[in-house]
């Protein structure tokens, strides 16, 4: 078999915020580092993040500190977050933002010349460091330029299909160059998964083609476990019209900067959907909500800035009740609330996006928006301090890791998550490599041959099904049966369909040859999408309550028993998935006190 081989200490799979931050840290710790990514460098999904990076820097509100951020994060996740991850995240995010400035990032400024911070859902104070509404681009470009300046090796347009291991732990990874279809293997004691999310298993999503759950699947195949997979975030505001742009994200900054949600009757309906859990901190009248933007001490947050799960459910209910817009969304209005100059200054990408794609001028008209699959809270179960998975040498950071966000992620907490845990994963991966250097068994020829055979099998079958059709059917299944509102009957049906889809995926055929062949690439991504979809459906069926990004029509209440339980997905010997219950890690007393002091 023709195979290109490389030696490294740390192989980072994925070149978004988490992957690049991990690579930088591992490199600075002295490790030989490779970054492997499916797209060109700088195109990863992080580039689409709009609103900002949540960090309690207290540049605008001196009252803000890590304890308040920690509390907001835990409450936003309905207390199911791993407390230690939420703590580390809140404590370290400000340093991670400041460090970006030393690498060339140019954030918007406060009048004092400090990094400006903006309001977002679920955050008590204006906390998101931002650059207009293109913060993700700034973050990825800064990390990309830093990576290049440090001379880190990047394998662009290269897909990892296997993580390789032996009894002692990780030995490396196997993949193919998208451009040529040729195989490549990396021999390394540490692999950091930073592959992002799973949104492409859903029909309406803000996610790009890359989000096929590769890292989730690679971890399962290597024998690691996933946690919280039932929690999928539907962002409340995606575009709904025209059909071809359905699902594209409309940043939460629109609401953070003063935008409101209205139904077809013109009512500001979010006031009807304030849950008891957030009632004490949410405005009761429109007048109070409007005053809050200027005076946070004496007023409470507008209900449009409740956490995303609450807003998405509310929009869903309004549309179902027949109070939606002509195209099945609700209205998001900033035109009647802020000046055109302010809107263009604060939300330039949104202005551009609606103008170009929907012929809507958001400075004069309301937008039509509805929920879109945006983020998976669930992911690889990791040690909070090192991001180590259950397999020695395997690490995970960013969206592919689980635990940090509990049942629902607050806006802005993703970019900070990437930086905080990307850095920690990189450091731990480098340290692990030091302990293993020289003792890593060579890559097994059998494993390599098996990986190559599996990758080439779609070419060998003739007359099989087209991968695009199978992907479409999977997306429809997840959309219809494991979407924003769930029932046991529907999820059981979804699991049956997933079993049928597995058979179809095993019989795919692709046309053409190995050189830059998207049909083949999709055929190799599909098994990952299926295993992730199965994990979501199985965990969602198991959790008989509603919490955060998991809403059961047949169990609509939040249940105190379930508040103490995590669901863990593990691989079975037959390549399936089992779900087990595991007690939630208990927060130490001094952290628990934060909830008493400030609520």
């Amino acid at each position: 078999m023709e195979l290109e081989r490389h030696e490294y200490d740390v192989v980072v799979v994925g070149a978004g915020g988490a992957g690049l931050r991990a690579a930088i840290e591992a490199h600075e710790s002295g490790a030989r580092v490779a970054v492997v990514c499916k797209s060109l460098l700088g195109k990863a999904h992080t580039v689409m993040a709009e609103g900002g990076i949540a960090a309690a820097m207290a540049n605008l509100w001196p009252e803000d500190n890590w304890q308040v951020h920690f509390r907001d994060t835990m409450r936003g996740g309905k207390m199911l977050n791993h407390w230690r991850m939420a703590q580390l995240h809140a404590q370290e995010a400000p340093d991670r933002v400041r460090e970006l400035e030393d690498w060339g990032a140019l954030f918007d400024r406060t009048p004092d010349g400090l990094i400006s911070q903006r309001d977002f859902g679920g955050h008590r104070y204006a906390r998101l460091a931002h650059v207009g509404d293109r913060t993700g681009l700034e973050l990825i470009r800064t990390l990309q330029q830093r990576t290049v300046a440090l001379g880190i090796d990047v394998y662009m347009e290269c897909t990892v299909t296997r993580v390789l291991r032996d009894d002692a732990g990780i030995t490396g990874a196997f993949g193919y160059w998208r451009e040529s279809g040729r195989f490549v293997a990396w021999h390394a004691p540490s692999v950091v998964l930073a592959t992002g999310g799973i949104g492409k298993s859903y029909k309406v999503t803000s996610n790009s083609w890359e989000y096929t759950g590769d890292g989730h699947s690679l971890a399962m195949q290597a024998g690691a476990t996933l946690v919280n997979m039932e929690f999928v975030q539907f962002h409340p505001t995606g575009m709904v019209w025209p059909p071809s742009v359905r699902g594209i994200l409309v940043t939460e900054s629109v609401r953070g900067d003063g935008g409101i949600l209205k139904n077809s009757a013109g009512n500001r309906f979010m006031f009807d959907y304030i849950p008891d859990f957030f009632r004490k901190e949410t405005a009761e009248t429109e007048a109070e909500a409007d005053r809050w933007y200027e005076d946070k001490k004496n007023n409470r947050r507008p209900p449009e800035l409740l956490p995303r799960d609450e807003v998405a459910r509310a929009i869903n209910s309004e549309v179902k009740a027949g109070r939606g817009t002509p195209h099945g969304g609700v209205f998001l209005d900033i035109a009647s609330r802020r000046s055109p100059e302010y809107i263009r200054k604060r939300l330039p990408s949104m202005y551009h996006q609606f103008k170009e794609l929907a012929e809507v001028d958001i400075t004069t008209e309301a937008m039509e928006v509805g929920p879109t699959c945006h983020y998976v809270m669930g992911g690889v179960e990791v040690d909070p301090d090192t991001e180590a998975a259950r397999v020695p040498g395997l690490f995970a950071a960013g969206e592919v890791a689980g635990g940090m966000h509990g049942s629902n992620r607050l806006g802005g907490n993703s970019l900070s998550d990437l930086l905080v845990f990307g850095r920690r994963a990189g450091a731990a991966a480098a340290a692990h490599a030091t302990t293993r250097r020289g003792n890593v068994a060579p890559l097994s020829d059998d494993d390599l041959a098996d990986a190559a055979r599996a990758a080439l099998s779609p070419f060998e079958r003739e007359g099989g099904e087209n991968p695009y059709t199978v992907q479409h059917d999977l997306q429809q299944t997840m959309h219809d049966l494991v979407g924003i509102i769930r029932t046991a009957a529907e999820m059981e049906q979804a699991l049956e369909r997933i079993e049928a889809l597995k058979v179809r995926v095993a019989n795919l055929s692709v046309e053409g040859h190995r050189q830059y062949n998207p049909g083949w690439h999709l055929a190799l991504d599909l098994p990952n999408m299926l295993i992730v979809s199965e994990c979501i459906a199985r965990a969602a069926l198991e959790r008989q309550e509603s919490r955060g990004g998991h809403t059961r029509d047949d169990f609509p209440a939040t249940d105190a028993e379930w508040a103490r339980i995590n669901l863990i997905c593990s691989p079975t010997a037959e390549g399936g998935v089992t779900v087990t219950r595991q007690p939630l890690p208990q927060m130490p007393g001094e952290l628990a006190e934060i909830f008493e002091e400030t609520s």
């Binding site: 797209s39 999904h45 689409m48 060339g104 400024r109 300046a149 790009s208 059909p243 071809s244 794609l357």
Partner: protein
């Protein structure tokens, strides 16, 4: 609302290829990338194309549409007549890999050659204090999504492979301008801009600004001011004298 549109798409690889004609369904509100995806899903599963965000934010789906450098995800089908044939070809300035995918490694090589951002020290309180007005000039260039449409359209390197070694292209001239205007950066790259990155090759025809999907004024706000700064340095008699007696930095 739907109609059958006629598309000509370049299919081939480094050894050659040609335009192939397809009839594809077009629906209301669609963009060219939707058509390419439908073509992949129904008629040409192996049609090679780059794309990621489908929202004009990542700069992956660059191509030439009816001869004009465009992002496929931001080109609405509504801008063409229903009976108009839409021709999609790969970026001409870069070598073809396959179909609509080109080898853009030239850009990554140039990016790696640019002297890295080097900040001044932080203030005593650990912050950097900078006014909004001072970050905005560089922020304009940091909006760049690296779609390389400016590189594609630039006549210095379009059809002039021989100039690529000496010329970094508009994308990287504005990167140099960005660093030159960056309020925290301390490195002087003016000499390098001229000597290593070929600033002098640009004769400001502004084609790059015209095709930029982000509306960046590459020439007016980036390249021309950079040229002026280079000239200031080069022809300022005191600077010249200083460089000769070795008390100024040479870089």
């Amino acid at each position: 609302m739907s109609y059958d549109g006629t598309f000509r798409v370049w299919r081939g690889d480094a050894d050659g290829g040609d335009l192939q004609t397809y009839t594809v369904e077009v629906n209301e509100g669609e963009v060219v990338l939707d058509i390419i995806h439908r073509l992949q899903a129904t008629q040409a599963g192996d049609l090679a194309v780059r794309w990621n965000c489908k929202a004009g934010k990542c700069g992956s789906c660059s191509a030439e549409i009816n001869g004009r450098p465009r992002l496929m995800c931001m080109t609405r089908m509504g801008t063409f007549a229903e009976d108009e044939t839409v021709t999609v070809t790969p970026l001409r300035t870069f070598p073809v890999i396959r179909d609509l995918v080109t080898d853009v490694s030239y850009n990554y090589e140039k990016a790696a050659q640019i002297p890295a951002f080097t900040p001044r020290p932080r203030e005593a309180d650990g912050t950097h204090r900078v006014q909004q007005i001072d970050v905005e000039r560089s922020q304009e260039f940091r909006k760049c999504i690296e779609c390389y449409l400016c590189q594609d359209t630039c006549h210095v390197i379009r059809d002039h492979e021989e100039n690529k070694a000496a010329f970094a292209g508009p994308r990287f001239l504005i990167r140099l301008a960005e660093l030159d205007m960056h309020p925290l950066d301390v490195v002087d790259r003016r000499n390098a801009a001229q000597e290593e990155f070929g600033l002098g090759y640009c004769n400001i025809t502004k084609c790059c600004s015209e095709v930029c999907p982000e509306g960046i004024h590459l020439t007016d706000n980036g390249i021309i001011p950079l040229k002026e700064r280079v000239v200031d340095r080069k022809y300022d008699p005191l600077t010249w004298l200083g460089s000769k007696i070795g008390r100024r930095r040479q870089e």
